[in-house]
Symmetry: C2
Subunit: 197 residues, 2 copies
Amino acid sequence: MAKTDVLTLAILGILNEQPLHGYQIRKRLGAQLGPFRALSYGSLYPCLRRMVDADLITATGEEPAASAPASSRRARIAYGLTDSGRERLAQELASAGASSWDDDAFDVRFSLFTHTDSATRLRILEGRRTRLTERLDEVSEGLKRMHERHDAYTAELQRHGLEQVEREVEWLDQLIENERSATGGDNNHGTADAGQD
Amino acid sequence: MAKTDVLTLAILGILNEQPLHGYQIRKRLGAQLGPFRALSYGSLYPCLRRMVDADLITATGEEPAASAPASSRRARIAYGLTDSGRERLAQELASAGASSWDDDAFDVRFSLFTHTDSATRLRILEGRRTRLTERLDEVSEGLKRMHERHDAYTAELQRHGLEQVEREVEWLDQLIENERSATGGDNNHGTADAGQD
DNA sequence: GTTAGCATGTAAGGAGTTACATGATTTT
DNA sequence: AAAATCATGTAACTCCTTACATGCTAAC
């Protein structure tokens, strides 16, 4: 099973809704994953190229119709998923490995939750939660063993960092709770939206 | 004026207090900048090498004393600042350019605030605050222009991201206020701790 | 005596950015 | 007609990680 990196997955998710140009993919990515995470073209286009080579997407050059042959517009390439790409996306959406809750992967997986089944959503949220609390523990351990104490500013930086992580954990707790109560009911939407129809 | 990257600055700051081995520098870095940010040796040692070449630090091999010539212990290298290194650190601590409030540089600068004068601290905090509110604005703009709406999960991710940034701004506001009231008084400690004594 | 932690390094490679190079379309 | 935005791409470079290679020292 070929490895799918985070960027590839994000693009697969975006193109699942509709074919788009490279430029538009970039904007979408920026809009979905926040103000940061704005990817450069120097990263995007080579990735699209690789995806075409791997037969996950097709590049459709907009060929000027017979109507206006004179104004041959510059290549505007629309990228769309192949069957193979749709299959790969479905595969990834059903998985919940460590790479789903890494710092850089979690938000991409989360932004695809509408197309993920409830059980997988829960596993990812819990995995992420465990990852964060592990970190919290590491810091506490580190603080205990630290012989040389921090100055006031360094301590404040540390305190603030811990607080941010704690809040993230609370956020996850809420989401997990919601997910659990929804599962008890009837709501399990989107299970196979990415699959074959 | 030679450019000082973030890692170099962090090391300069750590070695200003006492000479340390590479291994210890790494631990310190991890302890000061949080559980993440743990640097690999593959990054650290080449940087130390560059710093030695640039005459910012000296590498002192621990030579076995006459007492125990048999157990010639493996090279344990203590790194310490040169005068040139101390000068460079003082220079950096007095500056407050854009590179002081970038995501990856801000916490390093902050962890050195004890050795930074009050005016510079204030400028850095304000610069960081401006950077963050600019981001907040960008997102709002983006949301306004977005035609295709987000699904519930993507919206939640966005909301949470904004909330985290807002909290960071509140944190900065507190720090800025503290800094202002302290300046009014007498407190301006540490101004030239890194300078010549 | 064996595991865990201390200690130093190199080589290969991954994932991304910046700067460059080009040109079309829409808005002001 | 100028400016902004849409649009595609490449080459060089930066920064960092992983995997490897080596060996000492303290604790259990």
